[in-house]
């Protein structure tokens, strides 16, 4: 181990250096604090044995200079003091000195003091190595998760889109990198639009694996095949039934909730199936907001689940606002949930403003409710609007 020996007395310095060499260390000699500091900057020394009284820069200044440099490793400083200098110990400790040796010193004392310092330096080196390895692992995981989050976002039809007289807008906020939520919409035939939103139970990576698998499974072809009956009529309950068969596992507690609908673009009629997903809100231009649906079995939770369709008509200027449970369940600092009431009032207040702004407005209101704390659950806001009659 490299050890810097700073002493203006060449004989004393030599004596210490030889003792260090006998202990298997590599002594670097300095005639004053300034030289010692220069050596410290150029070498990997972690231990400094310094005389207190030296010309140019004394031991106390040297200590202060070393501590002020905020090096990425710790330097263990042993101060050599003459007899009767014990009053200086307090100042030296304040400056950052770790240990003291009194002159005249003998080889055995020197050996145990240097041995103790070497143990501390070695311990610090091992800790730094562990920290470095942990930091590297953390960075690798974080960059993986960020890549996964980007990949997941690319699957989603984010932003604002129009299909004829109908417009979609969405916000998607994972609680941690990736989300157990997923949504999508597609033109099924020239006069039909299919849409869905899901929320996998729990959150985090496990939920996200399921939500992404769902997103890849439920393509527009899959949706068209299963959400339209043999007679050509919309039947999203059938889709729910097929998905329940696919996602149900006897030995697994995870499941997902879904809201799926098929819209007839000519009439504005929506045939929908609510599979445990929170009730969407139907918002009218007169600022009335009514919940939609009457509940239903989630997907993959109960083998014998039954599913049914309900209908609503989306009139010109009306909106269907679909929010995952991350919205109503968002809690403030006192644990009070945002709740359906506040969510409905917010949607009512925003009816006069453009649809494309609503998802971000909901997200911003929830962020404010959380008082800056990140959301504890994934959030999806999907809005479907029928354009007002010109």
């Amino acid at each position: 181990m490299q050890i810097i020996v700073a002493d203006d007395d060449a004989v004393q310095r030599r004596y210490i250096s030889i003792a260090m060499a006998r202990l298997g260390h590599d002594a670097l000699e300095a005639a004053n604090g300034e030289e010692a500091l220069a050596l410290l900057m150029e070498n990997k020394a972690r231990i400094v044995v310094s005389d207190l009284d030296m010309p140019v820069m004394d031991g106390l200044r040297l200590t202060q200079e070393i501590r002020a440099r905020k090096l990425d490793h710790y330097v263990h400083i042993i101060m050599v003091t003459g007899s009767g200098q014990s009053d200086d110990h307090k100042h030296a400790l304040e400056a950052g000195v770790d240990d003291f040796m009194s002159k005249p010193f003998d080889a055995p004392t020197l050996r145990v003091r240097i041995g103790a310092a070497a143990r501390l330096v070695e311990h610090e080196r091992q800790m730094a190595e562990k920290t470095r390895v942990l930091h590297e692992a953390h960075e690798r995981i974080r960059s993986d998760l960020e890549a996964a989050a980007r990949a997941q976002r690319r699957m989603l039809p984010l932003g604002e889109r129009s299909i004829g007289d109908y417009g979609f807008a969405a916000a998607f906020l994972p609680s941690t990198f990736v989300s157990g939520d997923m949504f999508g919409y597609f033109t099924l035939r020239p006069d039909r639009i299919g849409f869905y939103a899901i929320d996998v139970s729990g959150h985090g990576i496990q939920a996200a694996l399921t939500s992404v698998a769902f997103g890849h499974l439920v393509t527009s072809e899959y949706f068209a095949t299963h959400a339209i009956g043999a007679d050509g009529r919309p039947d999203p309950a059938r889709l729910a039934r097929v998905l329940n068969g696919r996602f149900y596992k006897p030995d697994d507690d995870s499941y997902l909730t879904m809201f799926a609908g098929v819209l007839d673009v000519n009439t504005g009629e929506v045939v929908f199936c609510q599979a445990g997903y929170p009730m969407p809100m139907l918002a009218r231009p007169d600022r009335t907001v009514t919940p939609v649906g009457d509940g239903g079995f989630p997907i993959g939770l109960w083998e014998k689940a039954e599913y049914h369709n309900l209908r609503l008509r989306l009139e010109p200027g009306e909106r269907l606002v679909i929010c995952s449970d991350g919205a109503a369940e968002a809690e403030d600092a006192d644990g009070v949930a945002f709740g359906d009431g506040r969510l409905g009032a917010l949607v009512a207040r925003e009816t006069a403003r453009p649809t494309k702004e609503l998802p971000d407005t909901v997200a911003a209101s929830l962020a404010e409710w959380r008082g800056g704390q990140p959301l504890a659950d994934d959030l999806t806001v999907l809005v479907l609007e029928r354009s007002p009659t010109p």
């Binding site: 729990g202 507690d253 445990g276 689940a305 449970d325």
Partner: protein, 113 residues
Amino acid sequence: MITTETHGQAICLVDPNMPRLTAATATAFKDEVSGLIDKGYDRLVIDLAGVGFVDSSGLGALVGLLKKVGNRGEIVLCQPADSVMQMFRITRMDRVFKFLPDRAQALDALKEG
């Protein structure tokens, strides 16, 4: 940690002892109750009266227990707060679980059954 009160060889009353059954607590809760079922207590009363919030993971854990007791056993839930009951209604699990107002009635139902 749940607290339990056994009644005979197969019936056990379970108090989850937690104000919230969520992603943070659901796995531990399910593991503890699963242990009881493994010991032969497959007729369970789970008192949800003190549980103020159940999230999707909490519901998953309860249904997981119901799947575990299967046809051999039975689970009766003591009526939770209305906000929690709403979770069961919206997912239709109010039709799958049996709910009774209090422990005494729930235990009686199991002893008769």
